[in-house]
């Protein structure tokens, strides 16, 4: 019976380790996705800001 229990524990621990690895990877991926989306959003805002300033400068130049 102890051989069966050993086999059972080997299978159980292996699957638990695989699921733990998957869970850690999932957390890392979620963090990366959040960070990249935040970066994309802030880059887009900065680009919009720049475009607005350029438009204003262009309008001022035309008025002058």
């Amino acid at each position: 019976m102890e051989t069966f229990v050993t086999a059972y524990l080997v299978v159980w621990f292996s699957l638990m380790l695989y699921m733990l690895r998957m869970g850690l990877k999932q957390r890392e991926l979620a963090q990366q996705i959040d960070e990249l989306l935040r970066q994309l959003r802030s880059d887009r805002l900065a680009a919009d800001d720049l475009a607005e300033k350029e438009d204003e400068a262009h309008a001022r130049a035309q008025a002058a």
Partner: protein, 228 residues
């Protein structure tokens, strides 16, 4: 959209709980319900684990080859993600099959390992898919990686019939589908169904995770190229 996502998450939890219950029922039945075999005694209960992981390993490797072949036809990386997810779980189960088999062999045959035809074919299968995973981790370009690994998976799947039929084609000490009591057969079927359901869900989750990894790669490329 939110409702759909919530329903899907609910469905996933229900499926996971169902599969876990089925697996637990199978393992409890293997410990306490299945009758003790007369000649080998308690150690024979390893069969319920050994056959279940072996069955899933073979199915997963067949799935890997099917995913690879579909990628080669459609050139869509989602099929490569399915193939990788199935190969990873298949490799884990194949390793467990060799380990549990070795534990059983020590008690039943008095040796940890022997070059029996079926054992050898199973070891070759493990070697092929170990190589498959090593090759995958060493190629960077996604389509090149998918192409090479699809060919490897299709070549490797040829070994599956050999593993199944080795006990019929060649003489060895590994038993070929022995006769068993109906209650033993029922417990074995429960274990195979429970483990297969649980691991299939893991394959599905892993495939989705690999898809998320691809999404991260795409997002990173957009950030680097400053494409908003």
């Amino acid at each position: 959209m939110v409702k759909k996502a919530r329903n899907r998450a609910k469905g996933e939890v229900v499926a996971l709980v169902g599969a876990s219950l089925l697996l637990t029922a199978g393992l409890v039945a293997a410990c306490f319900v299945a009758p003790t075999e007369k000649t080998m005694g308690g150690v024979q209960r390893i069969m319920y684990l050994h056959v279940a992981v072996a069955w899933f390993a073979l199915m997963a490797f067949a799935g890997t080859a099917a995913g690879g072949a579909t990628y080669l036809v459609r050139r869509n990386l989602i099929w490569d993600a399915w193939a990788q997810a199935a190969a990873e779980l298949g490799w884990v189960c194949c390793s467990l099959m060799l380990l549990t088999g070795s534990l059983w062999a020590r008690k039943a045959w008095g040796t940890w390992w022997t070059w029996d035809p079926r054992l050898t074919a199973a070891f070759v299968l493990w070697g092929i898919y170990s190589g498959y995973l090593i090759v995958r981790s060493s190629v960077e370009e996604p389509h090149q990686r998918a192409r090479i690994s699809a060919v490897l998976a299709i070549v490797g799947v040829v070994d599956i019939p050999l593993v199944i039929l080795a006990t019929r084609w060649f003489r060895g000490i590994h038993p070929a589908a022995p006769q068993m009591e109906p209650s033993m057969r029922a417990v074995l079927l429960l274990c195979v169904a429970g483990l297969s359901a649980f691991l299939s869900l893991l394959v599905w989750q892993r495939q989705r995770q690999l898809d998320h990894e691809r999404l991260v790669g795409l997002l990173r490329a957009r950030v680097q190229d400053r494409v908003f």
